[in-house]
């Protein structure tokens, strides 16, 4: 470290903690006996949003997808936009938990649990949209290869079938990763809980964890294996989501740049969402000593890098439209920039390309409110990106006689905002009953802290 000529990296967690103090700090809230009123007020707000979602879904089930704004030619509307948006958000969790683990980035430790939970809940929200879009939700199993009496397999040449497998695998592996990561902490909660009911519930899910050396040995092997399994998923899931578009022949969709550009966009939006959630969490629970400026700085840097890849994607789309000489592609590009949805396009460029450039400044990366605003801008920008991709390509395709406009109905909005309610409800429950920062991994960091403290520059 002495050989570095710039300022040394600050420690992953603030000095001054011992094993007992971190354990106490991180398990305090899940073990509180009386739920604080502030939590209840927040929970009620997001729960009302969830009820709005339930209402919208019930009406949808009764009346059908005609209540949405979709029609020919824009048959893919909010449902697909929101599906891609939510799935993308999930990607940060997998990147943090799997890839950063394999690269031994110890700073991931304080944020991985929360990011994994976020992934899981985002995938749950995402998976709802294709089901709702079916119109006949109870027939969803048609897309699975089950021993049917139709004599048909699902259409394996359709990316929508690939989607089912990609997303189901993703959901399952994310759930396993999150749960396996929780086991030692669940045992800690079991041992520290005082009410017998809580003891039994935490104990049930702790699967008899006794902290023995043999447990830990097997545990580390399993965790590493799962990380290896999850790593390709960071790339594969959004690649397949992008193929939903790229495999078609619609101008603006039929392009080979989609997979890498979608994956980068997914990680971009995922980190924006992690920051959007973790900044308030950190200040509410006073986790400044475990989620430090170093974390914010690193996450902001990843956002900046993936944001630049996304910007390159936008540039290339338009370059290829011009370079290919394809009339339809060229019209699509021009229509995006100057057509009826041009305002949204330029807003997207502002949110996704211009504003994230502020992250070049260290001050923005480490100032909470600035970083929060940039993250919000990216969240919104990435949603707009999917809106632009889905709507502008479909609303004016090859035949001018079939051109039409798309606008969402209030049911679209209620469903979308409703899934945000579902997402936040799950997060509220997660924060209330489980440690939102991995206790045993932070304990490990505390154990290693003396070595870092020995380097004078760090202090």
């Amino acid at each position: 470290m002495a050989s570095h000529h710039h300022a040394p990296e600050p420690p992953v967690i603030e000095p001054g903690h011992d094993l007992e103090s971190v354990t106490h700090k991180l398990t305090a809230f899940p073990l509180i006996r009386r739920t604080p009123g502030r939590w209840f007020i927040g929970f009620m707000v997001v729960f009302i949003l969830l009820l709005v979602f339930l209402y919208a879904v019930i009406v949808l089930t009764v009346l059908g997808v005609g209540i949405w704004g979709i029609n020919i030619p824009v048959a893919w509307g909010f449902a697909i936009i929101n599906f891609v948006w939510w799935i993308g958000i999930g990607h940060a969790g997998t990147l943090i938990s799997a890839i950063l683990l394999l690269f031994r980035q110890s700073w991931r430790t304080s944020i991985n649990r929360f990011a994994e939970a976020m992934t899981l809940f985002a995938v749950a929200c995402a998976a709802l949209f294709p089901l709702l879009h079916l119109g006949r939700m109870h027939r969803f199993y048609y897309i699975l290869p089950y021993p049917d009496t139709l004599g048909l397999w699902p259409q394996w040449r359709s990316p929508l079938v690939w989607d089912v497998f990609a997303v189901a695998t993703y959901g399952l592996v994310s759930l396993l990763f999150w749960y396996v990561g929780l086991i030692p902490d669940l045992a800690t909660l079991r041992d520290r809980a005082r009410r017998p009911g809580a003891k039994r519930i935490y104990g049930f899910f702790a699967l008899g964890w006794r902290n023995s050396a043999r447990h830990w040995h097997r545990y580390q092997t399993l965790y590493l294996l799962l990380a290896g399994l999850a790593t390709p998923l960071v790339v594969s899931v959004h690649t397949i989501v992008s193929l939903d578009f790229a495999v078609s022949i619609i101008p603006g969709w039929h392009t080979t740049i989609f997979p890498p550009y979608f994956v980068a966009g997914a990680i971009f939006s995922g980190f924006a969402m992690v920051l959007t959630l973790i900044l308030p969490l950190r200040s509410i629970f006073g986790f400044h000593d475990v989620i430090t400026d170093r974390h914010l700085n690193n996450m902001a840097k990843i956002m900046l890098a993936t944001g630049l890849i996304v910007a390159y994607g936008y540039l290339m789309e338009n370059f290829i439209a011009w370079y290919s000489g394809n009339t339809f592609e060229q019209y699509m590009s021009a229509n995006r920039m100057t057509g009826p949805y041009a305002k949204l396009f330029w807003l997207l460029i502002l949110c996704n390309v211009a504003i994230p450039q502020l992250l070049w400044f260290r001050r923005v990366r480490t100032t909470v409110w600035m970083l929060f605003l940039v993250a919000l801008s990216v969240n919104y920008g990435m949603w707009l990106e999917r809106y632009i991709i889905v709507v502008t390509s479909l609303h004016r395709d090859f035949l001018p006689s079939s051109w039409d406009m798309y606008s969402a109905t209030r049911w679209d909005w209620m469903t979308y905002l409703g899934t945000i309610g579902l997402f936040l409800t799950l997060l509220f429950l997660f924060v209330r009953f489980l440690p939102s920062v991995s206790v045993f991994e932070v304990r490990e960091l505390v154990e290693h802290q003396p070595y870092e403290e020995a380097t004078p520059e760090v202090l």
Binding site: T149, L150, G151, L152, R200, G203
Partner: protein, 218 residues
């Protein structure tokens, strides 16, 4: 510290975990078996009718041709259910007092048609045309079974989509010469040379067209 669970909890947990995949397999097999059962498909269950009409008696006993009653089977999608007049061509002369035929006579007097209950009821989203199947040599027996041996009418096939596709994917084992279509006794096994000849004659049938979704779902 007191233990949260008894040692038996381990056994319960293991048994539960192991029975989970078994339960899934059992459920899938059970649902599949149930959906194939005669009870669900209606195969081999005689359908109640306003008159206990016996195909066995009229076809095997009297030798009446299928087309005497199902008149439109050769040139329309619908084979045709005979009007009361068709029954009365004979039954105004024979068995004209039989109590069993009272609904037929009532229908004749009032002009209200008999309401027969459908035995082979395809879903409305499946397009089916009798005439093309007759023209291409699908025998009545192939889909409707030996009606000459049915005192009351029942389904002999499930009408599953899989069953339709079995023939659409590879029709040759199921077709016969045009003149044998209404023959109750003709079987492909007894007439291998006819099958070979048919195969040669129909060598240009494009089976991929037969398995397009829009062949049946229009």
């Amino acid at each position: 510290m007191a233990q949260v669970f008894y040692p038996s909890a381990n056994t319960i947990a293991r048994v539960t975990l192991m029975s989970l995949p078994i339960a899934i397999i059992v459920i899938v097999i059970a649902v599949r078996t149930a959906s194939e059962s005669d009870y669900v498909t209606g195969v081999n269950f005689a359908v109640d009718q306003p008159v206990e009409f016996s195909h066995e008696h009229h076809v095997a006993g009297l030798g009446i041709d299928c087309r005497y009653c199902h008149t439109s089977v050769e040139d329309s999608p619908f084979a045709g259910i005979p009007p009361t007049e068709t029954c009365m061509t004979c039954h105004s002369q024979i068995w004209s007092d039989a109590p069993m035929l009272q609904p037929v006579r009532t229908s004749w007097e009032t002009g209200q048609p008999l309401r027969w209950n459908r035995v082979h009821d395809l879903p409305d989203f499946a397009f089916f045309d009798h005439s093309i199947h007759i023209a291409r040599g699908v025998g009545c027996v192939t889909c409707h079974g030996r009606v000459d041996q049915m005192p009351l009418m029942w389904k002999s096939q499930t009408l599953f989509m899989q069953w339709c596709l079995d023939c659409h994917r590879d029709p040759y084992p199921h077709i016969r010469p045009r003149e044998a279509v209404f023959d109750m006794n003709w079987t492909p096994a007894d007439n291998p040379e006819a099958q070979v000849a048919l195969q040669a004659a129909h060598a240009n049938i494009r089976t991929e067209g037969l398995t397009n979704c829009s062949a049946c779902h229009r």
